[in-house]
Symmetry: C2
Subunit: 398 residues, 2 copies
């Protein structure tokens, strides 16, 4: 047994846990997983001598259909790892296209994170590992050697929502602290089960915008990412009260209250940051439930935003709020003001595709101009990162 394997073996058996070890000096084993090869292949490894089967499940493998209580549902493909005589399991992919990919392991059927990859993303209540294949589309998601913006987690008061403190994420472009310029602002909204951390983590907002600004493809701008769940003042673990598992039920729309309260957010930002306080300096976009919020906020406040983006937008009204009444009349007012961009993006397999088609038919019938982008795939973060990357290049340039 060579030194490396011996070290792996001992640490595996020990299960050293630095955070709680008596002397916290261990950094884990020296297994490398995932290992990104120069040719785009990726090798996964896990030390699990007692396991009978180990699979990797990820979005770089062909989608499979799985039986569920709700019928057949498409999910990420799986591939088997193979075990060597030391209990180390390995699998190497084919060469992968440049992208950000997510995966987990399944050890004897139990879904677990890769213990040798600390890079993780949380989507609602599920934690996955990720890695980025560069030299192509994926480069925009990587931290590059370019000037970096500032990321802020800040609490604002919402008088409309009873004066409660609510948490938001704010991106300031590189250079904001070095000059006295006034900047435009994009307000960027998450979907059901998401929160004020979603776009900066799952959405790679910081990396995408640092890179686009450095390349001259996007204007320097602030991005404000509030928490759009009226029943939740902050992301799980960031608000007072029990630390419960995140769930989709936190996202209830609460009958138009978030939409109605939106000027509180704009007012706070315009009081505390050097930003353009006019329509031509404001953009609003969101994914899924955040696309629904965008549709109704922009329609109810038609003088507020010149750039509007609906990413895989939900648009089913189930509540009675006046915010949701007379959408067609409100859109007539909005488009009479000639917004500079009304951008719609959706995947061909998105379960909201037909509803988006109906929305576009209504816009077409009224000859309202909009930009439409149709991608492959469904209701997934890969698409939302792509929509964001395209949308950002069209902001504040007209």
């Amino acid at each position: 047994m060579n030194k490396k394997i011996f070290s792996i073996f001992c640490l595996g058996v020990m299960g050293i846990l630095p955070c709680v070890a008596q002397q916290a000096l261990w950094g884990g084993s020296d297994i490398v997983s995932p290992e990104l090869q120069e040719d785009g292949r990726v090798t996964f490894r896990i030390y699990a001598p007692e396991a009978r089967t180990v699979e990797v499940q990820g979005d770089f493998l062909a989608t499979q259909l799985y039986e569920t209580p709700f019928g057949k549902t498409a999910g990420p493909g799986r591939a088997a790892l193979h075990k060597d005589e030391n209990g180390l399991w390995t699998y190497t992919t084919d060469s992968l296209a440049s992208e950000l990919y997510c995966y987990t392991f399944r050890v004897d059927g139990l879904q677990v994170a890769d213990p040798n990859n600390v890079f993780q993303l949380r989507d609602v209540a599920t934690i996955s590992n990720y890695f980025i294949i560069g030299n192509g589309c994926g480069d925009i998601y990587k931290v590059q050697n370019v000037p970096h913006g500032t990321l802020i987690k800040e609490w604002y008061d919402s008088p409309t929502l009873g004066g409660e403190q609510r948490r938001m994420t704010i991106y300031l472009p590189a250079g904001y602290n070095k000059n006295q310029d006034t900047y435009p602002v994009l307000y960027l909204l998450h979907g059901s089960g998401g929160d004020e951390n979603a776009w900066s983590e799952l959405g790679r907002l910081t990396q995408i915008l640092d890179n686009l600004i450095a390349q001259g493809k996007a204007r320097p701008m602030l991005v404000v990412m509030p928490n759009g769940n009226v029943s939740q003042s902050a992301a799980p673990g960031e608000a007072s009260g029990p630390m419960v598992k995140p769930s989709l039920t936190e996202s209830r729309r609460k009958n138009g209250e978030f939409e109605r309260s939106f000027p509180d957010i704009v007012n706070y930002v315009e009081q505390h940051y050097r930003v353009i306080k006019e329509k031509h300096g404001r953009a609003l976009a969101g994914l899924s439930m955040g696309g629904f919020h965008t549709l109704y906020i922009s329609a109810n406040y038609p003088d507020m935003f010149d750039y509007i983006g609906l990413f895989s937008a939900a648009n089913t009204v189930e509540k009675e709020s006046e915010m949701y009444q007379d959408l067609e009349g409100k859109l007539q007012t909005l488009f009479a003001g000639h917004p500079k961009l009304y951008w719609i993006g959706i995947g061909k397999e998105d379960f909201l595709y037909e509803k988006n088609k109906a929305l576009r038919a209504m816009l077409d019938a009224n000859q309202y101009p909009y930009t439409y982008y149709e991608s492959e795939g469904g209701h997934i973060w890969k698409n939302w990162r792509i929509y964001l990357s395209r949308f950002l290049t069209e902001l504040f340039v007209k």
Copy 2:
């Protein structure tokens, strides 16, 4: 099989992975783990029908000695979970004292995070789950319904380190944006294997200081948490270059360069924030390697800080930098300036205990005044959170 178990079963078998599912609408199973009981007992659960043994390993269980290649080493205790007929494993602790606790599961010997607890902490390369038992000492680590400070991730230039962009975390106290006050600043340094995220995540800085300020036990202050690894401009995954597993070797001291460059950080903060630009408004503290940094930075810049804290400080000089020469002479100058607080904290079982004793003996021999706090236990985050909580109450009050 009732509906709940059926749902658990299906999701367990499915291994739904929202981030990569075709339609990302699932929030995981409805298993609750950990479940905090009213009486302080905690129940852990994991659905793993194929597993043969499942243990929980955590710092709420009595420390055990484990054989390692480096000799017998103390580590967190383990307890066995028991499986029911549906494949759900369960263990309930005795009533636990109020604290922040860390744990992982071990499934057939494989150390894994609790798949039903999204609250995790990373220490070097190991990810653990955590939970907080309230109604006592642990309350200071919880998010309470008090005014919240702002947390900023910002890049500064370090002329002394070749002008490179480096990342730091800054805490602004609640109210900073609502007045024109000038605030004192604590510079707070991480240990080996840590980075600019360590104190705000593992160290619960934001929660501790929000709570102490709200209780009137700490002065409102800024806290600046730079990256103290000269070989690393930002935390793993936040800098350009390959996303490699964090390791202790990233922390090399680089022969006094971080210490020498420290005024770059102070200058940046004093140019960009409303802070007191005098000794009486500056504090410096750090844990382990950060305690070493604190010892030498404060000794080399004796007019910079009036409040100095060494938490489980390392103090072995292996390099030749002039920053490390003539410590006794430099301390003489430092103490001639009558710093308002020189605070030393260490655990009775810390492997640096003897070295700290030697440092105290040297201070005693010179009749330099200092405050000493000796805790139970060793070189662990639980102690550093306690030291920080005590140290903060003594800052900027004299």
